[in-house]
């Protein structure tokens, strides 16, 4: 490969505007400034550090204590109860509070550099994601202060997690604390999706996009599709616990399997949500260290997408032992088998690249090879437990523990280390010690095998998981002792890592722009990069721009002039470039949000709702809701634009590209689209719950409950229809510049929708059965109120539109929020019609 031997070429250009832009993009100083910070560097670093902090707190202490307890038979270091709490905490923390935030932090930190843009699309949403995640984690951990530590396993199966068997607050901490963190995960996912699809450098077509970005694109969609059902499932569990509904109460028409389904619809994709980002990192490290372009790029992309979709058809392989019908079991077993294909394709592509390249044995490459070794073993045991007869034997034994740790530590932990050793010097500007890195690797690698390999054997010998001790004489002693020794080797390995970090910070050995001679954009920037990363956005003409391109600023004449101009103007507001989805042609210049305290306040409102539910202070939840509404309004309040419409027009004329100081059109539309998707998935999850409960009950509605009369809902539906029509009319008027027409249309929409919600709401309050009467009543009320809440959200947005219309905020050119609210109305109406249709019409059909 001759094209690879041109170290440190090309680089970013450093125009005289560098310092001005750097200043413009910096977060404000001081403590208040830190709370208002929105910069992707800051948010990304915080997410990673917080995840690591939770790992030390929950992941490591727990596991060491558990292993000490199991080192010898009949040990009494910890009580059975404490042991249950330890493994619950260990599993929950690592699965919810460690891997996910660390990877989302990686994405938020690195994507703008890798994609050649200046920021994430909604910096304030990023800040919100961080604060909700942090507060959710702390809320979860505060269980310890109330000595009500969750103990029902990381999947909190009902009925064990129900009120009857877990009467204290422990499960509430689990549900609610992690619930907040899940909201944060979804918010960050929205950021990631839009940045990857809409904010790439000109010329970075989808086919030229780095595999890292592909991996995170798929992951982020999976987060949206997996965490939303979990949030709904947790909500139903909390309704059972706090409000006396009967979703999971078998005696009243509920179903305990419903929880398992909702949990694993999240739970299996979750393991790939953790794994795919790892493959993204590996796919960046291998080409760099093998000095070879990736073999089978498109095949790897295909595998990532395939895994993303397929993993949603695997969940019930965690439920083979609950008595699924044979045909259902075969669906899931079939899907679990084929997932070996994309996983295998990826591994072959990596191996082929390694085979063909010339290795440079840096620490990141070592961790990559370690990853391959461990992950292949873990994948094989995975396919083993995915076959029904084998699983009937191995389920709930230490074999499963061995499987999951090989895939999680080998498949996720090692790539994480690879990523840190690879990118940390870029972000801090200081190098990490390679020799210590190698020690770090070898100690960890040996430790993981010593700790987890014996578990395969004791598992097959019949040792069940989640036991706090075991008797002598079953031949398990030696293996358990070896495992415990292994854990201490792992601890030593992590110790070396921490020492390496500290030394790097002390020694401050500066690194070059591109110490590894890597091919992707981020390595063209200084180490550490400027706040805004790119004064002049790069132009991309290759998958490996730093290997193939002579410089980063040559492209079509129009693109060259545009990126050059963006280095000069604007210097007073944070401008970024949106590009088209497939071809990355410049589409629009828009302003991203600056520092703001509102994300913190909104996050605080969110956590207040959950905390109030925890303490059963229902008024507190209302207060939290109010804080959220106020926060969201403050967050989106239109500040006076820093330039006039004429100035916008001037740049537009010169570069034939719209300038939108009042907020992006395309990106905002994607944001609203994802919001609608979120609402839609939540809605489908409740419909799924409805469906399961329906199937579990021979009579629907159950004896003693009458089908309610649909009259009130029919008239309310008519009013909602009028509202939708009015809003559309208003939107059409403002497109022609008619502000009065907008006011009339949205005014009608507001009044009609209010009328509809009041009628439907009072009908629901007057229903003859309550949400506590039978699972039918529970799901009826929950689905009904869900619909009304969605419509109410549309009403609040409409009210704001009406207010801003009166104040004359909108014009023919500037009315993005109006079209967005229109988009939301479409979703709200679909949810309304289908939802009430299911509640009032389907019982008559069956």
């Amino acid at each position: 490969m001759s094209d690879v031997s041109r170290p440190n070429l090309p680089r970013v250009r450093t125009p005289p505007t560098d310092p001005v832009l750097d200043e413009l993009w910096s977060d404000p100083p001081g403590l208040l400034g830190k709370l208002k910070a929105v910069q992707n560097d800051a948010i990304g670093k915080r997410l990673i550090l917080t995840g690591f902090f939770f790992l030390l707190l929950g992941g490591s202490v727990d596991s060491v204590v558990m292993r000490l307890q199991l080192a010898v038979p009949n040990n009494d270091l910890v009580s059975p109860q404490l042991y249950n709490e330890l493994f619950t905490n260990h599993g929950s923390v690592t699965m919810f509070l460690v891997i996910l935030p660390i990877f989302e932090g990686f994405a938020i930190l690195l994507l703008p550099l890798l994609l050649g843009t200046r920021e994430m699309p909604f910096p304030r949403l990023g800040a919100f994601a961080y604060f909700t995640f942090l507060m959710g984690g702390l809320l979860y951990y505060s269980a310890t202060l109330f000595s009500a530590v969750p103990d029902a396993g990381w999947f909190a199966y009902t009925p064990l997690s129900g009120l009857e068997f877990s009467p204290d607050l422990a499960i509430d901490f689990w549900v609610l604390g992690l619930g907040v963190a899940e909201v944060g995960a979804i918010a960050a996912a929205v950021e990631i999706i839009i940045s990857v699809l809409k904010m790439r450098a000109p010329g970075m077509t989808l086919s030229r996009m780095p595999l890292f970005a592909w991996a995170f694109l798929v992951t982020a969609f999976m987060i949206l599709f997996a965490f939303t059902p979990l949030i709904i499932g947790s909500m139903l569990l909390e309704l059972d616990r706090g409000f006396g509904t009967q979703f999971f109460n078998v005696d009243a028409g509920g179903s305990s399997l419903l929880w398992q389904h909702l949990f694993w619809i999240f739970g299996h994709p979750e393991v790939y949500i953790q794994f795919l980002p790892a493959t993204g990192i590996i796919s960046m490290v291998i080409p760099t260290f093998m000095r070879k372009k990736m073999v089978g790029h498109t095949w790897i992309v295909g595998s990532m997408v395939a895994i993303g979709f397929l993993s949603f058809g695997l969940w019930a392989h965690h439920m083979f032992t609950v008595g699924l019908s044979p045909i259902v079991g075969s669906f899931f077993a079939g899907a679990s088998m084929v997932i070996a294909i994309p996983a295998g394709v990826q591994i072959f592509a990596w191996l082929a690249t390694i085979w063909a390249g010339r290795p440079r044995w840096g620490t990141p490459l070592l961790f990559t090879v370690g990853f391959l070794a461990l992950f292949v073993l873990g994948g094989i045991t995975g396919v083993m437990v995915a076959s029904v007869p084998f699983d009937l034997q191995a389920h709930d034994s230490y074999f499963v523990v061995a499987h999951l740790h090989y895939v999680l530590i080998g498949g996720v932990g090692f790539p994480m280390f690879a990523g840190v050793y690879y990118w940390l010097p870029k972000m801090t500007g200081y190098s990490l010690d390679d020799r210590l890195g190698k020690w770090n690797f070898w100690i960890l690698f040996i430790g993981v095998n010593v700790a987890f390999f014996p578990m395969h054997i004791v598992g097959l010998m019949g040792m069940p998981r989640r036991v706090y001790t075991y008797p002598e004489g079953l031949g398990w002693e030696t293996y358990n002792l070896i495992s415990t020794v292994g854990v201490f080797i792992i601890v030593a390995g992590i110790g070396v890592f921490v020492v390496n970090l500290i030394l790097s910070h002390r020694r401050k050995v500066p690194v070059a722009n591109n110490p590894w001679d890597a091919p992707t954009l981020e390595w063209a920037t200084p180490s550490p990069p400027l706040q805004h990363a790119w004064s002049i956005p790069p132009i991309v003409t290759s998958r490996y721009p730093l290997w193939d391109q002579d410089d980063l600023y040559s492209g079509s004449e129009g693109d060259e002039a545009l990126v050059e101009a963006l280095g000069q103007w604007p210097l007073r507001w944070r401008a970024v470039l949106a590009t088209s989805t497939a071809d990355a042609e410049p589409e629009e210049v828009f302003r991203v949000g600056g520092p703001s305290i509102w994300p913190l306040i909104t996050a605080f409102g969110t956590v207040t709702i959950f905390a109030a539910e925890l303490l059963k202070l229902r008024l507190g939840a209302l207060a939290g809701m109010a804080v959220i509404v106020i926060g969201a309004i403050g967050w989106n309040w239109p500040d006076s634009p820093p330039i006039t419409e004429e100035e916008e027009l001037e740049f537009e004329m010169a570069h034939k590209i719209p300038v939108r100081v009042g907020g992006s059109l395309t990106v905002a539309r994607w944001g609203m689209g994802l919001m609608n998707l979120f609402v839609g998935i939540a809605f489908m999850s409740i419909l799924l719950a409805y469906f399961y409960l329906r199937l579990d009950n021979p009579a629907w509605p159950p004896p003693g409950i009458e089908n309610p009369s649909p009259l009130a809902i029919i008239s309310a539906t008519a009013l909602i229809g009028v509202a939708g029509w009015g809003f559309r009319r208003g939107l059409r008027r403002i497109r022609e510049g008619d502000g009065d027409g907008l006011l009339r249309g949205t005014g009608v929409a507001l009044l009609a929708a209010l009328g509809g919600v009041v009628i439907a709401g009072s009908h629901f309050i007057g229903l003859e059965f309550s949400s506590q009467d039978h699972a039918y009543g529970s799901v009826f009320h929950t689905l009904g109120w869900f619909i009304l809440v969605v419509t109410t959200a549309a009403i609040v947005m409409t009210a704001l539109i009406v207010y801003w219309t009166v104040r004359g905020e909108y014009s023919e050119r500037r009315h993005v929020p109006v079209s967005n609210v229109g988009f939301f109305w479409t979703t709200a109406i679909i949810v309304w019609v289908i939802g009430f249709g299911v509640l009032y019409l389907t019982p008559a059909l069956t």
Partner: protein
Amino acid sequence: MKGATTDQPRWLTWHVLVLAGPVIWYLYFWVVYLLAEAGCSRAFPETQWFGVSWVALATLLLTVIACSLLAYFTFTAYSAARSNPDLIEPTREASLYALGALLGAFFLVATLFVGVPAAVLDVC
């Protein structure tokens, strides 16, 4: 938005060709799964027609339909990839169509793995 190749209908854009495979499989999987759950439930116990369970029949029928659709899209994407060399249309690279073909073929296999056992297994 342009179609994939000049002689293809306009709605066959790269979005469609890339997403057809995964989306068809995803919908297929949910439908056969929910049907099977319903067919083995307490509310609508399994019924047989001429000794054949309707759940198995419906599953096989849906499998055939899904496979035909997948085959069609896979083939279309494949031909689009072949007739769109990078040189002719440098921005909309053939690799997106190739991606569509790969995904289509894979989900065709996945559909067979999921659906075919219904021909031999007991249903409930």
